[in-house]
């Protein structure tokens, strides 16, 4: 765009070719312009998760950061409507006032990037659809979005869903845009389902090196009616002094023996209900035969925060993989991983976070192959500086890729939004 064109363009853009529209109408106008001129554009919020996905070659950037603020919050209706680029932190603070929360426990990806909290915006979070530890109990981000407004790749303002949980009016596009990494719609407003926060939380930790037992425990936990809302296993591997030191620093709690491997499970609710469930679990999991400790609420809450912040991998310079498998395949995967990698297991045996040192793309390819064979999928959430992109960031098969291409075309026929962010050709 020439200087003159820039001057004539109605929406402010800075010297780095970044547009900063202030409202939905302006977003629509900018996108119409981009569409007309066929300009590939990167959508950005605060950039907290811009390292996830493929690198984009874009002519322009479209910052949606000015579309921020709570539009409507009705605690008794269990929803909050916000402009799409409202900081997650602000939403969480607002909900906290009414003792409510986003139940899917958004992950704070700031820690793996910079070692500090950087939660970014709700739109960015929805674009990734990576839920935290409570996922296996309450669902993912996609299960908590009720509706949205946004602008498609042609510049048309569109909406879907609403504010009610039961809604089958037309296609459920809210689910489709969640996890689409900004390749379908520039979100301008979202409605989220919120839920009451549980009063208290306790965590039982079980110290064991027996991997078979770990998987048996995961199975029992997921079969239990005691409503366990978090179950992770932190293996004490690999044999690396730095890692061990780091692990001990991260999980430094009075009542937690941080040496060795441990499985931790969370119980949330009122005191009497927690006590009752711990009693039930003592029987169900035969806790008396195991080496256990219990973290009270003052330790339990920060413990799960650290898990959700991926603090074990804080400031990692290596590749960080996120693999999801059917939980019954845990033994096989753990055997394959052996003691070669730093990893931990979340979602009661379903989710593996695995760190693979740089210059080891072959290893990633191997792991990915195993994961696929086990019926799972793998995403490379963070890549090392020397990553050569030989292995794709996401997992997709040919048929789904073909369908995805068609869907992309229906929203964004000229591939204006985040081209190549997910897959080539999308």
């Amino acid at each position: 765009m020439s200087t003159e064109e820039k001057r004539n363009s109605q929406i402010f853009q800075d010297s780095n070719n970044i547009y900063y529209p202030e409202d939905e109408a302006q977003v629509s106008n900018v996108v119409k312009e981009l569409y007309k001129k066929n300009l590939p554009t990167e959508l950005i919020g605060t950039g907290s998760k811009s390292f996830i996905g493929n690198k984009i070659q874009s002519a322009k950037k479209l910052s949606l950061s000015k579309l921020s603020g709570v539009v409507e919050y009705l605690p008794e209706e269990l929803y909050i409507k916000v402009k799409a680029n409202t900081p997650l932190e602000l939403i969480e603070k607002e909900l906290e006032k009414n003792n409510q929360e986003l139940a899917f426990e958004p992950i704070d990806f700031g820690f793996i990037e910079t070692g500090k909290s950087n939660k970014g915006t709700i739109a960015g979070y929805l674009a990734c659809n990576f839920a935290g530890s409570r996922r296996f109990k309450v669902g993912s981000a996609r299960d908590h979005i009720l509706g949205f407004r946004g602008v498609n790749g042609k510049g048309d303002i569109i909406k879907s869903g609403g504010t009610v949980v039961k809604n089958v009016t037309g296609y459920d596009l809210s689910k489709l845009v969640t996890g689409s990494f900004g390749t379908l719609v520039a979100l301008t407003e979202v409605v989220l389902k919120v839920l009451p926060k549980k009063n208290l939380s306790n965590t039982i930790t079980i110290h064991t090196e027996d991997k078979k037992l770990v998987n048996e425990l995961f199975e029992k936990i997921s079969s239990s009616s005691s409503e366990i809302s978090g179950a992770v296993y932190i293996p004490d591997e690999p044999q690396d002094e730095n890692y061990k030191h780091n692990k001990e620093m991260v999980f430094k709690f009075n009542d937690l023996e941080s040496k060795g491997s441990f499985l931790a499970l969370r119980i949330e609710g009122d005191k009497v209900s927690i006590d009752e469930r711990i009693k039930a679990l003592t029987q169900e999991l035969e806790l008396n035969k195991l080496n256990i400790s219990i973290l009270d609420v003052y330790q339990s809450v920060p413990f799960w925060k650290k898990i959700n912040n991926l603090e074990l991998f804080a400031e990692t310079k290596n590749n960080l993989l996120r693999a999801v498998i059917p939980p019954s395949k845990g033994n096989e995967l753990m055997q394959k991983l052996g003691n070669k990698y730093k990893y931990y297991i979340d979602w009661c045996g379903s989710l593996y976070w695995i760190e693979v040192k740089s210059k080891k793309n072959m290893k990633i390819t191997e792991i990915k192959k195993s994961i696929k064979e086990l019926g799972g999928y793998l995403t490379i959430v963070k890549t090392s500086a020397d990553y050569d992109y030989e292995e794709t960031i996401f997992t997709v098969d040919d048929t789904r890729l073909l369908i995805s291409e068609k869907i992309k075309k229906s929203f964004d026929p000229k591939r204006v939004f985040n081209p190549g962010k997910m897959y080539r050709g999308i």
Binding site: Q100, R135, G162, V164, N167, V168, G179, S180, P196, R277
Partner: protein, 498 residues
């Protein structure tokens, strides 16, 4: 029957009828193709029995490969296809078309795998919703979504409609309770989405397919999540002297931080109707009846029941009963579950509406419906899934009287428009189908609908799969159509509807 605009009949298809029958008979066992008038008559309608259309032929394939071959053939020959599950849908989503092959998934009736380790069941789509629970209940598990027709409705149909039930607030609808599907696209492509893992990477195609009413693909396999039954379930039955006080209590329960497993409201008309019908022992003096069901651990449920009782007392409830045992809990529900047949017994016909509204607008909605009832001079009874905001007004009328029929249509449409005005939607769980097609414009503008149609045509570019459903045929949202009536001739008289 009210006049219904359907897609233009393709004369070429009708002209080559015999050729099509012969070709189809080669794609599955010949006895799985029905084309004789007597054989196809039962398939003329789904549970929205006011509309009837004779399909070109009915085909009942037995496996995914056959479905794929049939769709590929129809795609190549430009023949429309209407998929059908158990035919229990209330919005005409499986209404046949004269020039379309009706693809029945009735033979897909086997559970393929019960996987307790991964907490899921892999099943063919024709298995009933309740069939899933029956298959796993011996180990204390169940499938959570529980539409009232669960005895007969198929899991494939549940996916197509994104069916809910009375426990949706806490346990979600179908879309939140399935892990994977296999489906066949209109051109015959077989596609697997998800599996036994939580979530899926990439575009959430399962989220898109769930609730797409058979317009995007034919579901041939479903992997459904199963849950462990809660330790304890108890219920409270509470009467209120005014609509406002009962509505306020329901809202307060939620804002107090309680998430009931189920919360149902009935108005006076329905309390009387159901109590006459099922002798449920409901408080007949109440203007509004609230049923609150809680689950969890024993002490948790007792504590929550105490809190619910206090909230209801604060809101001047006139009666309050807590279930002392399972038998009593079920008796609380007996009347509620008899709501539809009770209305059926009070008038020759009834028309069940299905809108969603924000919980807090309940009193407003009920008062508006009351005023409309007066305006149209037609009795109405209301039940409301207060947990998730799903409202089911039942308008009673005589379908033999054309004027009443017309008034009922108008009344129904006004209710749904009111739902939208109050911040809700035109269908909470029954789907749009042909019934509410024209009302889509109440919620969506041209851009919104165009985007949805673009998705449709990207996956079915010839518009052959279930055409004429969900989206208004007379496009441009200014041209408002009419809502059509569900009258008499209940297709599944034995099914509870609530």
């Amino acid at each position: 029957m009210s006049e219904l605009v359907l897609p233009k009949v393709n004369k070429k298809t009708l002209d080559k009828k015999e050729y099509i029958f012969k070709a189809l008979a080669k794609l599955t066992k010949p006895e799985n193709v029905l084309s004789h008038a007597d054989e196809i008559k039962p398939y003329e309608t789904d549970a929205l029995a006011a509309y009837k259309q004779t399909p070109l032929a009915v085909i009942m394939p037995e496996n995914t490969q056959e479905v794929s071959s049939i769709l590929k053939f129809c795609y190549e020959e430009n023949i429309k296809v209407v998929p059908r599950g158990a035919g229990t849908g209330l919005s005409g989503g499986a209404l046949p078309l004269n020039d379309a092959v009706l693809l029945s998934l009735g033979k897909f009736n086997k559970i393929l795998e019960i996987d307790f380790e991964n907490k899921c069941v892999v099943t063919q789509p024709g298995v009933t919703n309740l069939g899933l629970t029956h298959a796993v209940q011996h180990k204390g598990f169940y499938y959570a979504p529980d539409p009232s027709s669960q005895l007969a409705c198929s899991i494939g149909g549940n996916v197509a409609e994104n069916s809910g039930g009375v426990h949706s607030l806490k346990y979600g609808t179908t879309t939140n309770n399935i892990l994977g599907i296999e489906m066949v696209m209109m051109d015959g492509t077989i596609c697997r989405i998800g599996g036994k893992t939580l979530d899926q990477e990439g575009y959430d195609l399962m989220g898109l397919i769930c609730g797409s009413e058979g317009l995007l693909g034919v579901i041939t396999e479903v992997t459904a999540k199963i849950l462990k039954k809660p330790q304890v379930v108890k219920a409270a039955l509470i009467g209120f002297p005014t609509i406002e006080e009962g509505g306020n209590a329901a809202t307060e329960i939620i804002s107090h931080g309680i998430v009931p497993a189920g919360m149902e409201i009935m108005d006076k008309a329905l309390i009387e109707a159901t109590d006459n019908f099922s002798k449920a022992g409901y408080p007949r003096d109440a203007e509004l009846l609230l049923i609150v069901e809680l689950d969890g651990t024993e002490s948790e449920v007792n504590e929550l029941l105490k809190q619910v009782s206090n909230i209801c007392k604060k809101n001047n409830c006139s009666s309050l009963k807590l279930s002392k045992n399972e038998k009593e809990r079920l008796s609380f529900w007996a009347g509620r579950k008899a709501a539809f047949p009770a209305c059926g017994a009070m008038a020759p016909d009834y028309y069940c509406m299905d809108g969603s509204i924000p919980r807090g607008k309940l009193a407003e909605a009920l008062l508006e419906i009351k005023a409309l009832s007066k305006k149209y001079n037609l009795p109405v009874a209301n039940c409301f899934h207060a947990g998730d905001g799903n409202l089911h007004p039942l308008i009673m009328y005589d379908g033999g009287d054309k004027e009443q029929l017309r008034k009922t249509e108008e009344f129904g449409a006004e209710i749904l428009k009111a739902c939208v005005r109050l911040g809700g939607v035109i269908t909470g769980e029954h789907g749009v189908g042909v019934e509410k097609r024209e009302l889509m414009c109440e919620m969506f503008n041209d851009n919104d609908i165009q985007q949805q149609l673009d998705i449709k045509s990207s996956l079915d570019e010839k518009n052959l799969l279930n055409p004429g459903k969900v989206y208004p045929i007379l496009r441009k949202c200014a041209e408002e159509g009419r809502v059509h009536v569900h009258r008499g001739e209940e297709k599944f008289p034995d099914l509870p509807r609530f």
